[in-house]
Symmetry: C2
Subunit: 156 residues, 2 copies
C-alpha cells in the first residue's frame, strides 16, 4: 500500500507500544491503514503465539484488535477535524474498554486481517467495531471504546 | 505457595499457550492458584510490555485476565465435580468472550496481581470476574466467559 500507516505518524515517545510501536523491537509492530471507510491491518502470528496446537491464543487477538482500534480512533479523529495526521496538536487514544467474542478458533500460520469500523465518534470518545479474519473467515469480533489520551499522559 | 499451579496440571499438549503454557519459552507462563474462594496469579511485566513510557499496554492486561480466567474455570470445574485436577477426563476451557474495562493506567515495573472470582458455573460454561491490581490499586476489571473445550480440539 502506498499509504503511510496510522502508527507511523506517532511521535517517537508514542512509538514504544508493544502492540503497535515501530520502535519496540520485541513487539507486534502492527500497521493500520484506511481501506475505504474501514481500517485494515494484517498480521502473521508467530509460531509461539499458540493457544493449543494449530490455533492462535486469544490474548494476541485481543491485542491486535486493541491497537488497531486505538490507531483507527486517532485516524478518524484527525479526519473529522479535517487535518492530516502529522499536524498539531497530536490526537492519541487509549482504550477505555475492549470486548472480544471469539467466534471460531483462529488458525496459526495464516495471515490475519483485522478490520475496523467507526460506529461512534463524539467528543473525546470513539467506538470502533472490529473483526479478525483468517482465510476470509471471521474468527473474532471486537468492540473498543477509545478515549482521547489525558493531557497528563501526553505531556510526559 | 505450596500449591501446584492450575496450569501445571495441564498435559504437555495443552502447555504451549503463549499466555500460560509452561512449555512456551517465549510466553508469559502465568501461574494461577486458589486463595480462598478467589484465584490469584502474579506477573511482573517486562520492560517491552510498554504502552507509553511508564505504563503497561492493554493487550498484556487482557492476556493475563484471559489465561488466568480459563485456568480458574478449569480449576473450579474440577472442584465442582469433587475431583483433583490430575484426574481423568481432563477439563480444559477456551474463551468465548472477554471484556476488559481499563480503570486506571497500569504502571510498569510493578508486580501485578490478577484475582479471579467464579460468578457462574453451569454445564459447559463458566463466567469469571477478574481484576488486575498494581500496588493494591485496581487498574482493570474483566469478565471472561469460558466454555469447555470441544472434543474435537481435545483429541488432537
Amino acid at each position: 500500500m502506498a499509504q503511510k500507516a496510522f502508527q507511523d505518524y506517532y511521535s517517537d515517545d508514542f512509538s514504544h507500544c508493544y502492540g503497535c510501536g515501530r520502535l519496540n523491537e520485541h513487539g507486534l509492530q502492527i500497521k493500520s491503514y484506511w481501506d475505504g471507510k474501514e481500517s485494515v491491518a494484517k498480521y502473521l502470528p508467530n509460531e509461539h503465539h499458540i493457544a493449543i496446537p494449530g490455533f492462535v491464543y486469544g490474548g494476541l487477538i485481543a491485542s491486535l484488535i486493541d491497537c488497531h482500534c486505538t490507531g483507527t480512533a486517532a485516524a478518524a479523529s484527525y479526519q473529522k477535524e479535517g487535518r492530516d495526521m502529522d499536524t498539531e496538536p497530536p490526537l492519541r487514544f487509549v482504550t477505555a474498554s475492549i470486548k472480544v467474542d471469539y467466534i471460531a478458533p483462529t488458525p496459526l500460520n495464516v495471515e490475519l486481517e483485522i478490520r475496523g469500523k467507526v460506529v461512534e465518534i463524539k467528543g473525546k470518545k470513539v467506538v470502533i467495531e472490529a473483526k479478525v479474519l483468517a482465510n476470509n473467515k471471521t474468527c473474532a469480533i471486537g468492540v473498543v471504546v477509545a478515549v482521547r489520551m489525558p493531557e497528563t499522559m501526553l505531556s510526559k
